[in-house]
Amino acid sequence: MSQINYRTINIDALDPESSANFPMESLLPATLPQAASASDAASAAAQVRQMLRGGDPEGALRTVLDTAPLGGDDRAKEVHLATVIDVLQGIRQGEMTRILEGVCSGDGGAERADCLMKYLYKGMSSAAPGSGTQTPKKPVSPQDTGFSQIQARNLGEGGGGQQMSVLLSWHERLVEIAGTGSIVRVMTDRRTV
């Protein structure tokens, strides 16, 4: 006699009308750029590092935010995150505000500000600092909400703590320029970086 524990049946999986089966892809806009691969991200990274070495941090930040792999796979996104963090760490405290004002103004400035905000939050949530060799984490909730509270945090342990303080000071400056509206938009945006 087969024994079924009815309490453990996932009834949501059986009900096509259930809200747990919400099609998340319906939230992706049609204007999403082409899927970028890890090699595309790597070539963008080389270009950006070139600009950074050439003494053009504003151009580097602008380029790295414009080439964000919004439609890419996890690997491409990891590589690009490492590039963004390199750029952010390569800019001196005193120059932050001036560079941010340059990057967040002009055509598409608001999108760049939102994109940078996404990278700041992603950088703060990733456990291994600055590494491009992170294994993708298992989603904690059945629907990947993009946010999870159960995660190792890198509080004050060497390099991680330093990276965090850089991200936090960028965050502070960015909120001064783009306002709290940017944070709210990043919370809901499904075009993740």
């Binding site: 809200s19 919400f22 099609p23 319906s26 939230l27 992706l28 806009p29 049609a30 204007t31 608001a110 999108e111 939102d114 783009a178 306002g179 709290t180 509206g181 940017s182 709210v184 938009r185 990043v186 809901t188 945006d189 499904r190 075009r191």
Partner: protein, 351 residues
């Protein structure tokens, strides 16, 4: 610009408010009841209560001409209230929904009203003479989540709806025998019931909290990242916290309010929109300018841990604004509008 008229009605959130056509009566949703206020002098005094709902009332609307009030609530019911010599008489509406009703608005013809709900349907309700009963037809596909807001086109057929699945949609709610066939417009020529005339996703996938047809009716707008004509969609990225509700003022101005507790103006046209500033006049306020004695300052620091009590917001509303409605308008230009919010205030603003 004259100062806004503030009516602090009670210390409880106002989910929705509605003025009668003559602006003398104000209906306010307060917890499980709807309270009716009558204007007397400069004030609004409580005159009647509409009791009947068993859970929080989420929305209320007074029909301008017939004076009928429709209310809907989290108890999944809607009532139409009619004034009789013995008081307000409720009629239950068969909504056939299994989740809370969230939003209700009369159509401009006042023959129908639409109820948005958490059951992923919009119930379009109309009165059937034969049965002496309000019945509903459901707009269902392709709604994937709770309806948060609705707006009627002046032809009473097209209905714009905003939803928590981040889409704003325009439906046809044409009901044979009730509606006259609409003129062909930018939205389509033949419009049977449940035609989807437009479906727009907000780029950042935020919830749609408000929609409105522009005076020329080619545009639907939603805040938090607003604006969309049938062909293109534009988002206005602002520095602000999410906006909850909006109205059009002419073809080139939107007034919206939300979690920042004050109304904002947006200016623009087909080429782009931008924030033009707040309608709040903060500069005129003189606050805390008086000279503090050192003794008083140290006493305050000792008692409260701070030198100055700073618990009041500088805005007129002291909490989130839920609803914004046109109060008086002439030729499509809004002369005054009213807002209500979580702080229990109804404010009438002059533009």
């Amino acid at each position: 610009m004259a100062a806004p008229q503030v009516h602090h009605l009670f210390h409880a959130p106002i989910a929705d408010h509605s003025f009668s056509f003559d602006k003398k009566t104000l209906a306010v949703a307060r917890e499980n009841n709807v309270e009716l206020y009558q204007q007397s002098g400069n004030k609004f005094a409580l005159s009647d209560e509409l009791k009947g709902h068993e859970k929080t009332v989420t929305s209320v609307d007074i029909a301008p001409n017939s004076g009928r009030i429709v209310t809907c609530s989290q108890d999944r019911n809607a009532y139409v209230w009619e004034q009789t010599p013995t008081g307000w008489k409720p009629t239950l509406v068969l909504l056939r929904i299994n989740r809370a009703a969230t939003f209700v608005r009369w159509s401009p013809s006042e023959q129908k009203f639409a109820v948005g709900s958490g059951a992923r349907v919009i119930a379009v309700c109309y009165f059937e003479e034969e049965n002496d009963w309000w019945i509903s037809k459901h707009l269902k596909k392709p709604i994937r989540s709770t309806i948060t807001t609705l707006a009627w086109h002046p032809n009473s057929v097209l209905l714009a709806a905003g939803s928590t699945d981040s889409h704003a949609r325009v439906f046809s709610s044409f009901i044979k025998g009730i509606d006259t066939r609409p003129e062909p417009s930018a939205w389509g020529e033949r419009l049977p019931f449940n035609t989807i005339c437009g479906e727009y996703l907000n780029d950042t996938a935020g919830w749609i909290q408000g929609v409105a047809f522009s005076p020329e009716c080619v545009t639907v707008v939603y805040p938090s990242a607003p604006e969309q004509p049938p062909r293109a969609m534009l988002n206005i990225a602002t520095r602000l916290l999410p906006l909850n509700s909006l109205i059009w003022n002419g073809e080139n101005e939107i007034i919206a309010a939300g979690h920042d507790c004050e109304p904002f103006r947006f200016h623009g046209d087909e080429n782009g929109w931008q924030l033009a500033g707040s309608l709040e006049n903060k500069a005129g306020e003189v606050r805390g300018a008086r000279e503090e004695s050192a003794l008083n300052m140290f006493r305050q620091m000792d008692l409260k841990g701070q030198a100055q009590a700073d618990t009041k917001l500088k805005s007129t509303h002291q909490n989130t604004v839920h609803t914004i409605r046109t109060h008086e308008e002439a030729n499509g230009v809004v002369r005054s509008f009213s807002t209500s919010g979580v702080d229990g205030r109804v404010v009438i603003w002059n533009t």
